[in-house]
Symmetry: C2
Subunit: 406 residues, 2 copies
């Protein structure tokens, strides 16, 4: 696309983010981009944003068959429909900007193939951390071997809930409802709360950080829904907060590990101060040590501003090159890593079920039971179902393979 | 340059950052870039980094006339020499990566012309905030009209000194010496301390943030060398810190202002926690509100990692497009802005010399004298010499045109 060409957008989906994009494009006189058609499931559904007659359609062909449309923006809240739209567009050689992290995390290898086969582009910076430019920076600025770790709070909704519960003494159900009312939570809140939203973002980040795609089912993922007052009390007594943290880190020159888990975060760490719906990402590397990026990670307008960045990038034919996938000696994914965890439990006999290699602390009272010890990540994955039960809460204590604070 | 071409670098300057680049390139097996020749003023000067025989030369022609060299990295600590090298390279169509902020801030319009006339590129992300990717993100990710303000701690050396003085009770001279010993201070420390280093970075940032070049002599710039115990005490009593802050901000749709000045920073602001040699930049815009980027802003290796990012970007023919300079309705620079300031003085009759439009607080004791009031920025610029005298300290109190915390 020539940089002087105006961008004519076919938009799929007109929810919070879609309406945000519509609003933002109307505000920016130098965007040289306009939405030509919006495809929705139900035209007559009442929406906050008024649109000119004829802009909305329920027929995808009105977008796909319009030769003037040179960019598809896909913001559909259903991973299967989203994949159909994006793959159809890419196979027709139409570039796409997408915010569908679940779909991208699931299909990224195919989507990369399609971009290559049909010489077109799929951009998705908005899919990770809303307004924070994580993907673009990993792909471009951190395009070298120095990168060691990407770690952060990637889900605004669960972070908002934890902030309400942890800092404001709200109960969990009220906090969840507030998050949904404010539009921070996805339509299926379990995605946010059980860590899957953060996992999908982490999978995408890992492709651009280390050039490796790891399928979701291979990554240990535990969310925050089992948190109880005693866990909050435990963290508070140590001057810590509990945050839902996603991380990918090199553990040697040859291997890296990744997981999503609540973490006991010390006050000295950057992510300690990331509260409410904010996201914060720490990028650690040789030479530059740590960099921290912080911004709004949820909400219609912040995400829309990121979609706008991707739209503008297409004016200059920008595409991800997936450079690190071509690196020699890419590190391999391993779960053969010792991590230290806090596990609080009720009836489940955690100490006998989990093969701790070392135990540091154990409390057994009629009210509270917890154990702190070292365990192999692979052993946790093998006992994944234990953490689905409603009386077990696990939190990472980051001490072992990261030798300095982040 | 084809992405499969290896990069052969001619390096000018082999000081702290130059040696850092040499070291970093040796560590990164996927850089596909090597230093072919290093031009220095004095070959025989002892250096920490050992180099193979024949790598060093004192003859610039050994680099300019080598047809294999396809990138010049310029890290010379003398703005005039730096400009001669960079303009010679660009006029020969050789792309350049430079870290010379003073030279770039002075000559940017000419350098943009040269890049255009000779169809080549000059990258300088390392020139602003060391390892933090500010320029690249302003140019690419924030390529839209939403941007309202860029504000931050851009000079690691003065920030290190303020941290030592402010948080550790060191005296100013000791703190300055420590900064120099640690390699955080430029060879001429007045650049750091009097705010010029931050100013040069701000000028470069403003080109990429708002598409406007403002010459250094038009920008109100005051540094930290006049800070006294009573200023530190004043800030501490209010629970604040004093930081040297550079900022550029739109004050209306049509205009923006910029200045470099110490600031009384409240605890709730992001930059309050930016201590020691770190830099922190707050980017504020419509829709995404505030984003914060934080990282090491000084030192050989962090800066070298940023130089590496620019080198790698050249493998993909990356160049700044200076897109915002082509925007319609770019805002114009104005100093017709009211700001609120704290001015501490001794013998100079500040209250009669400065035309305050409103005074909020005034203290006159045998020991301390200060005044807090609103003043036009243009009136401060007209009285610029007042702040060179050794008994006047000015600090911005950010309340007027920024309505929310940053």
């Amino acid at each position: 696309m020539n940089s002087k060409t105006d961008i004519k957008i076919g938009l799929f989906g007109f929810g919070t983010v879609g309406q945000g994009v519509y609003k933002v494009l109307g505000q920016t006189k130098n965007a040289h981009a306009e939405i030509k058609r919006i495809c929705v499931r139900n035209i007559t559904r009442p929406r906050k944003t008024a649109t000119p007659a004829g802009l909305l359609t329920d027929n995808a062909a009105d977008i796909f068959d319009d030769p003037e449309i040179n960019l598809i923006v896909e913001l559909v809240d259903d991973a299967d429909a989203s994949f159909r739209i994006v793959s159809q567009a890419l196979c027709r050689g139409i570039p796409v900007v997408s915010g569908s992290k679940a779909m991208i995390a699931r299909h990224l290898p195919e989507l990369i193939e399609m971009q290559h086969a049909h010489n077109t582009a799929l951009l998705y910076d908005a899919s990770s951390c809303g307004s924070i430019p994580v993907i673009r920076n990993l792909e471009e600025y951190y395009d070298n071997d120095l990168l060691l770790e990407v770690k952060g709070i990637l889900n605004g909704s669960s972070n908002y809930i934890l902030s309400r519960v942890f800092d404001h003494g709200e109960n969990y159900t009220d906090a969840l409802q507030h998050a949904q009312e404010l539009g921070f939570a996805e339509s299926d809140p379990t995605f946010d709360i059980e860590g899957y939203d953060a996992l999908f973002k982490l999978i995408i980040i890992t492709v651009h950080a280390l050039g490796q795609f790891v399928p979701a089912d291979r990554v240990f993922t535990v969310g925050i829904s089992h948190i109880r007052d005693c866990d909050i009390r435990y963290a508070r007594e140590k001057g810590q907060k509990i945050k839902l943290v996603a991380q990918v880190a090199k553990v040697s020159d040859r291997s890296f590990t990744m997981f999503v888990m609540p973490e006991l975060v010390e006050k000295s760490k950057y992510i300690y101060s990331v509260d409410d719906e904010y996201n914060g990402v720490v990028i650690r590397g040789e030479c530059y040590d740590r960099q921290f990026m912080f911004g709004k990670g949820a909400g219609g307008l912040p995400t829309a501003s990121s979609i706008l960045s991707d739209i503008m990038a297409r004016r200059h034919d920008y595409r991800y090159e997936y450079k690190k996938m071509k690196y020699v000696d890419r590190p391999s994914y391993t779960t053969d890593v010792t991590i230290r965890v806090y596990i609080r439990y009720d009836e489940t006999p955690v100490p006998t079920l989990i093969p701790f290699t070392k135990v540091y602390e154990q409390l057994i009272t009629p009210k509270d039971k917890y154990i702190i010890g070292d365990v192999q990540l692979s052993d946790l994955i093998a006992r994944r179902r234990l953490f689905d039960s409603h009386d077990v809460f696990i939190a990472n204590i980051p001490v072992l393979y990261t030798d300095r604070d982040n």
